[in-house]
Amino acid sequence: MQADERTQWVPAAVSTDILDGTVVPAALPTGPIAVWRTASGELHANGDRCPHRGMRLSHGFVRGNSLSCIYHGWRYGRDGGCEHIPAHPGLEPPKSINCGPLPVAEANGVVWVAAQAPEEAPAEIEGFEALKSMLFCATPAAIAEAAGGALKTELGGTPAHLVTAERTPSETFVVALVPTGTDVASKLAAATALEALRRVTESAT
């Protein structure tokens, strides 16, 4: 991965899909990540690997302002630093034990994560908000082609933007954005159209 790619915001999740006090798995081109909210809703991201035994931290759990590993309960704070090791309750964990916090931001109801701090906030798409994320077994180019040549499209009669991130050479993470204030019936139709777009894209691949 080139240095300038490391400082690019990558869409990782839909904001409303990460409940307060929960952790979810996502991915950057550099590898898997865990994205989580503290009990009060503050958003954080870090590598999806416990420095202790390599267990995925997205299998873990959030209590208050800390993310705990499901395996041996090592507990990490908002700065990624290890706060507590249950097997050694009297030990103050060394500063070197850190799960690798990552820059994270929210825009248009999308959670954006970068490997290194980008200079600017993620670009806003005025008047749109995230509807749904979906993993396509296809490349971003194939998705754009199936959507009519561009990622600015329409889904079930509603204007839509597709935000994409290539996760593997054959898998692309897609978030569909629809106009803020779209009614429930139109959102449902857009979600159904997104399923259809995935079918078309994948059968063409």
Binding site: D17, L19, V24, A26, S58, K132, L135, V184, A191, E195
Partner: protein, 217 residues
């Protein structure tokens, strides 16, 4: 009620889970499913000629299909876990109980190939499993849009219990659950139920228990 049970069987777990959620006591009879194949032995074939588990024995009643067992226990001990007489609820509940069999054959099939080296076409089972997960994700997303969390009506029902275990254990068959945000939220809501119990591979929500460090914080 006697349940012929195997700790690693998601279908047996469905029954144990519902019973726990309803506060119903089961008498468990452990079956040596693997490697003993006790479910194919004379004693259990006499109870269930299909040679499968779970088997529920309650007096004269003997039931061998997990969806039927869930319906039976709910009818006896938890009517609000069944559909009301509303046609929409009745249909949706039957729909999801039938759908749960697809989860069993696809995701459960992949799991048996991966974990117990049963014969089977792993790639085909995984593909069918992913198709079922995508269908469930789409349905649960639609439910969220209307403010609902569970599959039927406005509450948790046996439809959720019937579908939950094989979905939660999909990674045992090397099928990832990472892409499914609405499934993740739904599974969390099930695991957050009072008296939720675990099985190997499905753990409880540790954050719901008191923080062991809270005392010295």
């Amino acid at each position: 009620m006697i349940l012929y049970d195997y700790i690693l069987s998601p279908s047996c777990y469905k029954v144990r889970l519902l019973a726990s959620l309803l506060g119903v006591k089961l008498e468990l009879r452990a079956v040596d499913f693997h490697p003993g194949r006790e479910h194919k032995g004379d004693e259990l074939l006499a109870l269930n000629p299909a040679g499968s588990i779970p088997i529920l024995v309650d007096g004269e009643d003997v039931l061998t299909e997990s969806a039927a067992i869930l319906s039976y226990i709910a009818a006896k001990h938890g009517q609000n876990w069944l559909a009301t007489s509303d046609a929409g609820e009745v249909g949706a509940q039957q729909q999801w109980l039938s759908f749960s069999h697809r989860l069993t054959s696809a995701l459960g099939g992949a799991r048996l190939v991966e974990m117990l080296h049963f014969p089977g076409d792993l790639a085909a089972l995984q593909e069918a499993g992913i198709a079922a997960l995508r269908e469930l994700e789409a349905a649960l997303f639609a439910r969220r849009l209307t403010g609902q969390t569970f599959l039927v009506g406005d509450r948790i029902t046996i439809a959720d219990i019937a579908c939950f275990p094989y979905v939660a254990l999909a990674p045992d068959g090397s099928v990832s659950l990472d892409p499914y945000a609405s499934i993740r939220i739904w599974m969390r809501a099930i695991r957050a139920q009072p008296r939720f119990i675990e099985m190997p591979g499905i753990h409880r929500l540790h954050e719901l228990a008191p923080d062991p460090l809270a005392g010295d914080a």
